[in-house]
């Protein structure tokens, strides 16, 4: 009785009830496919977030008011371009001196002899969900940013057409704006937006330029291209008021001086805000690396969660196999008796049923891998899935193991039957 023979018996057994075999296979298929696809989606969204953080530039730092403190009077809420929730560098326990807002003066103090590693510091005020209109069309802009021209380099924004505004514009408070690609497209369509005037809450801004598309995430939620950048003074005068800044974006002289720049910035701001000794800082300086690790942490949790859901469906598929094999063994008890009566050794019976279960799970597993791999070529809820090879190996391995173990129990029960008992079974 060679293994090939046993396998042939198993295939014949499976072919006897194609619908049942098909449905059981489907259970495993869905389980394996879900594991691969969901892990790929989790991985893809992690990559996407990583990319959008990288867009900030490897050499930039974000200074934001400490959210746990009382530096009130800010208009637009916290946060700005992706960069909130960064790891705090200055969080200490202890009494807080009166918290101060970040000001434009703070930003300009960060550039100069005291901070040789800092190339530029751009004050940023942000107004979120602003409605802008042009000749009857209106769109909601995720972020309306007021800043200085150095922001473009620090935040890695490139102007595709037109020109960015100048320092003179900032000083004069000129109402000129650079549009993100999404905004430009939605407001103007085919029309050239340069020189046109858009209406923002009754105030007219002249379009000076359009930003290059950042090229990721087409989902409307958290679209980095749904942005308008305008001179700081103009935005403060019209939208946010003259409260504290939302952020200061600091650009270091190079990627290798980021750490030096971080400590310089911290020191200068401590001095300016009168923070000494054990007093808790009223600001946070976060580098891209720290933001990335914090966001990475949360996306990893997300991926694990997805994988857990998928693993449960794989387990359910495995239970389906056990169930079907138990039914099969019960149904075919008489057949087992006949086979034993004509001299089938125990190993052959055991082998046949284990092989049936394994073939079921293997076919389901392979088809599941196929579905997972093909499915990951499509964009799912705005995320481009990225396959994780280990998840394919793991899912396939688990499905085969499920076949062996979960099929083994009913198979063993079948093989242990005494021929006379099996034959009497009706």
């Amino acid at each position: 009785m060679n293994p090939l023979e046993v396998l042939r018996f198993a295939l014949r057994g499976l072919a006897a009830d194609k619908l049942r075999s098909g449905l059981t296979t489907l259970g495993i298929l869905i389980g394996v496919g879900a594991v691969i696809l969901l892990v790929a989606v989790g991985n893809g969204s992690a990559e996407q977030v990583k990319k959008s953080i990288q867009r900030l530039g490897a050499d930039s730092l974000t200074v934001s008011p400490s959210t746990s403190g009382g530096g009130g009077g800010r208009g637009g809420g916290f946060g700005g371009p992706p960069g909130m929730g960064g790891q705090s560098q200055q969080q200490r326990t202890g009494p807080r001196t009166q918290a101060r807002d970040l000001t434009a003066a703070d930003a300009s103090a960060l550039v100069g002899k005291a901070a040789p590693s800092v190339k530029s510091a751009s004050p940023v005020v942000t107004s979120q969900s602003v409605t802008a209109g042009y000749s009857g069309t209106s769109v909601t802009i995720n972020q309306f940013v007021g800043t200085t021209p150095s922001y473009f380099a620090a935040a890695n924004k490139t102007v595709a057409s037109g020109t960015p505004f100048t320092d003179a514009d900032v000083t004069a408070g000129t109402k000129t704006a650079v549009l993100g690609s999404t905004v430009a497209e939605e407001l103007f369509g085919q029309v050239d937006p340069l020189g046109k005037r858009i209406d923002v809450g009754g105030i007219r801004f002249t379009v000076a330029g359009v930003l290059k598309a950042s090229g990721s995430s087409s989902s409307s939620f958290n679209d980095p291209d749904s942005i308008v950048v305008a001179p700081l003074s103009a935005v403060q005068a019209t939208l946010t008021g003259y409260g504290g800044l939302n952020q200061v974006i600091v650009q270091a002289t190079g990627a290798d001086t980021v750490d030096a720049a971080q400590s310089e910035v911290t020191e200068i701001l401590n001095q300016r805000h009168g923070i000494t000794g054990s007093a808790a800082a009223d600001f946070t300086v976060s580098s891209q690396a720290s933001v990335q690790s914090a966001v990475g942490e949360s996306t990893r949790t997300f991926t694990v969660l997805l994988a857990a859901v998928a693993a449960i469906s794989l387990l359910v598929g495995g239970i389906g196999i056990t169930n079907i094999m138990l039914v099969t063994v019960t149904e075919r008890t008489r057949e087992i008796g006949i086979r034993k009566a004509i001299g089938a050794p125990r190993g052959a019976i055991l082998g046949q049923f284990v092989a049936e279960a394994t073939v079921l799970s293997l076919i389901g597993g392979v088809l599941g891998v196929l579905v997972g791999v093909v499915g990951s070529r499509f964009t799912i809820v705005g995320v481009k899935p990225v396959l994780v090879p280990s998840s394919i190996v793991l899912a396939l391995g688990v499905s085969v193991a499920i076949g062996l173990f979960f099929g083994g129990y009913p198979a063993n029960r079948a093989a242990k039957l005494r021929p006379i008992e099996a034959l009497r079974h009706e």
Binding site: R12, A16, R339, K340, A341, G343, P345, R346, P419
Partner: protein, 239 residues
């Protein structure tokens, strides 16, 4: 036709007992049966239901183990064999024919007949050749591709006989082989048995029909788990 020469008898049953259950509810199915069957004999075991003939058949076929006594099959003490050896013994030494045919559904007649050879480890080509020969022997060579549900009862039983013969077993064991058949099919099967007996096969048939027993050379009667009669007679070959 008793044991001749040095050759051990095919069946040598010595004082075999079988008890089902225990204590007050114990049922004594066999109360000490001794029986010797020589090579080439054709024996009918008769008895009313409850006489213990089915229990005897199961023990002879190594499907069940006796409670007491010894059973030697072609000189081998069956009681001493482990499960694996019993399976080999059933495969090589015994051919079974059941009352209810017991063919495996959804497998062609050919595949059913090949099955014992597959478990015996015979190569595929050899298997096909021997299965075809066995089917020809029972007159069903043209039905090899049919599945059991496409065959009549008599044809199914002939396939079962072919399956029992294909390993060239020492003993052909039939349990009420005509119990589920009409008279024409019964005559068919008995004709096959007669031919097999003429070619020297050892056959033990368990039955309660005199018509079947009439073909045998020796009739053993069981009552209440004991042999009450053992007569040798000249078979009246039908037709």
């Amino acid at each position: 036709m008793t044991a001749e020469g040095a050759r051990p008898p095919v069946l040598d049953v010595r004082d075999v007992t079988k008890v089902y259950g225990a204590g007050d509810t114990a049922v004594h199915a066999l109360r000490g049966v001794s029986l010797t069957v020589a090579q080439g004999d054709y024996v009918a075991v008769m008895g009313a239901s409850g006489s213990g003939k089915s229990t005897l058949m199961n023990i002879l076929g190594c499907l069940d183990v006796p409670t007491g006594g010894r059973y030697l099959l072609a000189g081998t003490d069956v009681g001493r064999l482990d499960e694996r050896r019993l399976a080999i013994l059933r495969n090589r030494r015994i051919g079974f024919v059941f009352q209810s045919f017991n063919l495996i559904p959804r497998m062609s007649a050919q595949a059913n007949v090949e099955l014992p050879l597959a478990y015996g480890g015979v190569r595929a080509a050899e298997r096909r050749r021997r299965a075809q020969a066995a089917l020809r022997e029972v007159g069903l060579a043209d039905r090899a591709r049919h599945e059991p549900n496409e065959l009549s009862g008599g044809q199914q039983q002939r396939v079962a006989v072919a399956r029992a013969l294909v390993t060239a077993p020492t003993l052909l064991l039939a349990d009420e082989p005509t119990g589920a058949l009409d008279s024409a099919s019964t005559a068919d099967i008995l004709g096959v048995f007669d031919r097999l007996s003429e070619t020297g096969r050892t056959i033990v048939v368990i039955t309660h029909e005199d018509e079947v027993a009439a073909h045998a050379r020796r009739v053993v009667r069981l009552r209440d788990g004991r042999v009450v009669e053992d007569v040798r007679r000249v078979p009246e070959v039908a037709r």
